[in-house]
Symmetry: C2
Subunit: 488 residues, 2 copies
Amino acid sequence: MKKRFIGVGFLAAVGLMMALGGAGMSIAEDKVISRSEQWAEKYPHQYKSWKKTSENDEISDMIKKKPQLAILWAGYGFAKDYNAPRGHFYALQSNINSLRTGAPVGPATGPMPTACWSCKSTDVPRIVAEQSELEYFTGKWAKYGNEMVNPIGCANCHDSETGDPAISSAYLVRGLEAAGLKSTNIDGEDMRTLGCAQCHSEYYFKATEWTDKDGNKKVAKVVTFPWDNGLSAEDMETYYDDIGFKDWTHKISKAPMLKAQHPGYEIFQSGIHAKSGVTCADCHMPLIKEGDETYSSHHLVSPLDDMENICLDCHDQDVEELRAVVERKFERKEQLMEIAMNSLAKAHLEAGKAWEAGASEAEMEEILTDIRHAQWRWDYAIASHGSYFHAPEETLRLLALANETAQEARLKLVKVLAKHGAADFVAPDFSTKEKAQALAGVDLEKLVAEKLEFKATLLEEWTASAIEKGKLDPDARKGMSNKTSYSK
Amino acid sequence: MKKRFIGVGFLAAVGLMMALGGAGMSIAEDKVISRSEQWAEKYPHQYKSWKKTSENDEISDMIKKKPQLAILWAGYGFAKDYNAPRGHFYALQSNINSLRTGAPVGPATGPMPTACWSCKSTDVPRIVAEQSELEYFTGKWAKYGNEMVNPIGCANCHDSETGDPAISSAYLVRGLEAAGLKSTNIDGEDMRTLGCAQCHSEYYFKATEWTDKDGNKKVAKVVTFPWDNGLSAEDMETYYDDIGFKDWTHKISKAPMLKAQHPGYEIFQSGIHAKSGVTCADCHMPLIKEGDETYSSHHLVSPLDDMENICLDCHDQDVEELRAVVERKFERKEQLMEIAMNSLAKAHLEAGKAWEAGASEAEMEEILTDIRHAQWRWDYAIASHGSYFHAPEETLRLLALANETAQEARLKLVKVLAKHGAADFVAPDFSTKEKAQALAGVDLEKLVAEKLEFKATLLEEWTASAIEKGKLDPDARKGMSNKTSYSK
C-alpha cells in the first residue's frame, strides 16, 4: 500500500495557538474572524472551494426514506425532522430550519440549549472567545440567535491571526485527554483528522455548575465527548451506563434512551484507512491544481465524486471496480441497518403494548435496557457520514449486535405479552412517515406552523440585528436557497 | 495497492491436459501417479515442502470448543466428530478416522457414499481415470477402501505426465460452466486459485442414474457444485430450495437441513484480495529461496505464520500492526458466530419442544424453513478456512442474517409454544460437548468402539491389500502420527 501524506508540508510546524483555561478557552488575542468572506482575500482558492459547499443544498428527508426512524426516536426531537447532511454552507440554516430546534419566542425559550449551536457556526468560537466557554454553554438556544449567523467556515479550523490550522473546540481537547490520546502539540498533520473530529464525533451535554465573574451560580450544558473508556460503541455505552445518563425517555417503550450524534471520528479509527495512516483530509480535501497554484480543496464532498483524483492516488485498480466495491459495502450496511431498525421499531411498539397490557417495572427493566443498548449500537454504527466505508466491518458488527439485542428484547416481550393476555399482538404498520410519526405522537402540522411563525418573526429580528451589528454581511447569503423538509 | 502475481511465469502457458467426457473424465494416457513420493525425484523441493504438511497433525476437537455444533448438526454425521483441519498429509487419515465415516464391515456397507473420498486422496483421480467418473461415484465409501491410500498430493493439482498444474476434478469444470465462469483454457494463472477451488468449495451429492458399459443401471452420487445461480450464499440457497434438496432432516427440530461444506473459493471471490487479483497461491504458496533455487512452497499454511515473506510483499505496514488488524477481524467473526450458533441451537431445541407440545405441521412449516435458511447462512459464512480474513464483510453480513433468521424463527416459536401451553420453556443446557451430544442423541461410546473395531480389522486389510498391489509405499507413512478426537 502506497502511503500519501498530501500537503503536510505547508501545514506542518503549526503550533496550537490556544490557551485552554479551566473555565473554557481563549484563542490568541481573543479575536475570531467569524465572517468567512473576510478570509477570502488572503485565501481566495480555499474560500472559493468552501463556498462550493453551497451547491449541496438538497433536502433528503430521512424519515420519509426510513420511516422506522420516527418510531426509534419517539419523544425526541429527531422524530420530528431529520434530513441527510448538506454542505457546510448550510450547517446553520439546517439547524435553524429544523423542527428539532423548535420555535422560540424570546431569548430564554427552548426547547434546545445553547450547545446546539456548536458545530454549526464560526460565531461559536467567537462567542467563546468573547464571553468564555461556560457562558456560551449556559442558557437556551435562542439566547444566541442574533449572534450565530455565519455557518461552519474558516474560523472553525483555523487561527484567525495566523491562518494556521487550529482546534477551536476545547471539548475535543478534553475528550482526547480523557481517552489518553494526543491532546497537546497538535500539529498540522494531526489537524488533518482532528480538525474534523471537533464536530464529527459523539458527544452529550454535561450539566456543569459554575459561577460567573459576578458571582452568579449557573448551570452550563457542556458538549462532552464520552471517551473516558475508549472510542468504541461498547466503551461509550459503558460510560453512559456508569453515569446513568439518558438523552430522553422513549415515548412508546419508556426505555431510557441514548442518541448517538455522529461518531465519525471514532468509528473511522477502527477502519483500515485510519490504521494505514490515512487522514480525513487525504480523501475529503484533495489537492487541486489551478494554473500555477495548488491548494487543498475545502469543498468537502464524498471522494466518490472525484475517485480519479482521490482514490487512485493510493489504489491502482480501475475506478469502476473500486466503485463497485464501495457500492457493495453500502448495500451490506443498508441490509443490516434495515433489519436492525425494523427489530428496534417493533421492540418499542411491543414494549408500549406490554405497558398498556399491565406489565410491571420489574418485568420491563431488563427489556428496556436491551432496547437502550440495541438502539445505541445501531445509532453508533450509522449516525456518522460514511461509516459503511470508513469502517465497514465495525459497522456490520454493530448492526448485527444491535439487531441481536433488539431481538432478545422482543423474545422477552412475547413472554411478557403472553403473560398479560396479549400474545397475539402484532406491531402496527410504520411503513410511511405519516404512519410512523402518528404512532410517535408527532403533530407535524402544529410544529411546522410554529416554525414558520418563528421564521417570519424572531428569526427576522435576529438577522436584522446581526447585520446592524456587523456580525453578518448580507451579501454572504446571496443566492442561498432556503429548503426544508416541510417546504411546500 | 501494489499487485504481485508471483510465479506466474513458470506456471503459464500450461494447457489443461484433460478430456472431459460425458460419463466422466480421463486424464491424458489414463495414467495418474497417485503416490506423491514418486514425484519427489523430479520435484524435490516441492515434495519436501508438501511433506511438511505432516507437521500439522494436531487434533482440535471443534465440538468440544463449540458444543453448539452438536445441536446444530443433530442427526447428521458432523454431530459425531468434527475437528479443525490438519495438513494435506493427513487428509485421508482424518477421513478414515472420523466417526462420520463410520465402521463399515465390507465393501458394500456405509454409511457414506464413495463421493466422501473426493478431496482426500490422489487415488481419486487415478480411479476416475481407470474406471470412469460415474463408476467412481457409485457405491459405498468402503468400496474403495483398499484403493484410497495416498492423501491429497501432487496428482490432485498436476498432470502426471507433464507435471503442469491441471484440474483433476471434472466437477469443478462443470461448476464453473454452470456459473458462467471461465471453464476452458484454464491456464497456470487460473490454476493458482482453481487448483484450490477443486476442493475448497461448496458441493452436494447429486443422485445421477447411469448405465455402465455392461448395460447395468446404476445410481451415482456425483459431487456437484450448486453454482447455477451464482456463488453467493443466497444464490446457492435458492438453488437448493428450487430443487427441494436437503442434506438431512434435523433430529430435534425436524427442519430440512443443508450442510455447507467449505465454500472457501466462493466466499473468497467476494473479498478485496480476490477483487484485487490476488490468488490463493499468492499467499498460501509463497516462493521460497534455497541456495540458487526458488520454488513455490507446497506447505500450504496460514500466511500468518510467515507474514514477513507473504503479506509484506504487497503491504508496507508493520507486521504486528497487520497482525492486529487480522486478529480484530477474527474476533468480530467469533463474536457474531457465537451469537448465531446460540440462537440456532435454541431454535432447534425450542422447535423440538413445540413438536412435543403438539404443534402442527402447518404451524411449524415456516419456522423450519427459517431454521434451514438461518443455519445455511451461518454455515456458508464460517465453514471454509479463513473466511473471516478472505471476506470479512461478507462473513459478518451472513452471520448477522443467520442470527436474524434464527431469531425470527424463535419469535414465532414462542408464540407456538405459548399456544400449546409451553410458553415458559427454556432450552436445556448445551454448554459442553457431553451435554450437547446427549441432546443430539449421539452415542459416542458405541461409535468409538465400532470405529476401533473397524480400524483393527477391515482397515488393516485395506492397507495390506494396497501395499501388496503396489498402490501404497509403507515408507511414505513413516513417522505418521495417528491422532483422533477420541484417542485415549
